[in-house]
Symmetry: C2
Subunit: 200 residues, 2 copies
DNA sequence: GGACCGATTGACTGGTCAGTCAGCCAGCCC
DNA sequence: GGGCTGGCTGACTGACCAGTCAATCGGTCC
């Protein structure tokens, strides 16, 4: 037989279960027992792998947010136009939602927008994303691709806020979430922010 | 003497105290005793005027949100250009924050963005705001003031999301919040959404 | 076999609050 | 005065749950 029986990764199993339960019930109203049940694992095992219930969510957030930060930086380092860089960022976020809606729901609802709990804890990481987007805008202004009379930090907040609000709209069925809608959305955030609503 | 001694409105006193405490500690980590203490009132009196701790927050939200809905409708009914209507909406929200930052913080952080608790409860009212803004956009499109290739519901989410993210930025000191910054912000959200970032 | 060790189990505890309730008191009317 | 009303008080209770821990299991090595 193989040198090892495939060791089921219980830690991963717990994280995946937590995503599902958090997405369904929200962080505050899920008990640790719910996570354990969903993972098919004993209550105590959650505490074997994680210091606390909070740490489970922190881990989920950090795993995914570091990917986002990397994606933004990669877009920034590319040779593309500023507009294309923003398209790449919007695309990454929208695709993240398309492929893992539950995880993104948890991250947005429980961290990014949870200003009084995890949002505060992770403010530095979250802020890094705003800053990186702001840098893309500032560079765009420096090379004349974007108008110079808009504060980059401000534009960054608007851009990110618009995307996040769209995800919220999908999460709560406020706007349609078909496959084409995702692609439309990517193009449209960028259109709205770069071209504006008024005809040219 | 006057027919009545001025009856201190304890109910109002409790609501005002709740705003301060919720803004400072967040809804989840304020105990009912904190509200009572801040209001200088006995614990039990909170339950004399409100069915539950939740109801205190619900009341705060509904009071203010109905003003917002009224402001949006008024803007919509005016003879102004679509762009000016959006300016009026952005202006109302920004001014609300300027004059009552604590209340707006509570509403945004604890309701509007608290998707798993109060946000869900108040979804219908929140949605009404998105819909009304969407109507302004749709009318603008019908009269040729706005480009027709952007879904109004989508544009509405982007617009509102951008504003809310700015308030979040102020709330968390991510962007400067001087008096001029508020006025700049009003103009800039509208510029960004209507004109776009790219030069014309 | 048996010592050892990390993974796994789940009953139990300690602390925290939301909400209850029995009653106090100030003003008013008869 | 004495009774009534309703705003007001705050000690108390019941429920809930995160986190602990002592015990068990299963594999490995000698």
């Amino acid at each position: 037989m193989a040198s090892k029986a495939p060791p089921i990764d219980k830690r991963r199993q717990i994280l995946d279960a937590a995503v599902r339960v958090f997405a369904r019930q929200g962080f505050h109203s899920t008990r640790v027992a719910d996570i354990a049940d969903e993972a098919g694992v004993a209550y105590g095992l959650v505490y074997h792998y994680f210091k606390s219930k909070d740490e489970v969510l922190n881990e989920l957030f950090s795993e995914r947010w570091s990917l986002l930060l990397a994606a933004i930086d990669e877009a920034d380092r590319s040779e593309a136009t500023p507009r294309a860089k923003l398209e790449a960022v919007a695309g990454f976020i929208v695709d993240s939602y398309r492929h893992e809606p539950e995880l993104m729901k948890v991250i947005i609802v429980e961290v990014t927008r949870a200003a009084n709990s995890f949002g505060r804890t992770h403010l530095p990481e979250i802020r890094r994303a705003y800053d990186s987007i702001g840098k893309i805008v500032a560079d765009g202004q420096a090379q004349g691709a974007f108008r110079g009379d808009v504060d980059p930090a401000f534009a960054s907040m608007s851009f990110y806020g618009a995307i996040e609000q769209l995800l919220s709209g999908w999460i709560f069925d406020l706007i349609p979430a078909g496959d084409g809608d995702f692609d439309d959305a990517k193009a449209l955030v960028v259109t709205a922010i770069c071209d504006g609503l008024e005809p040219r």
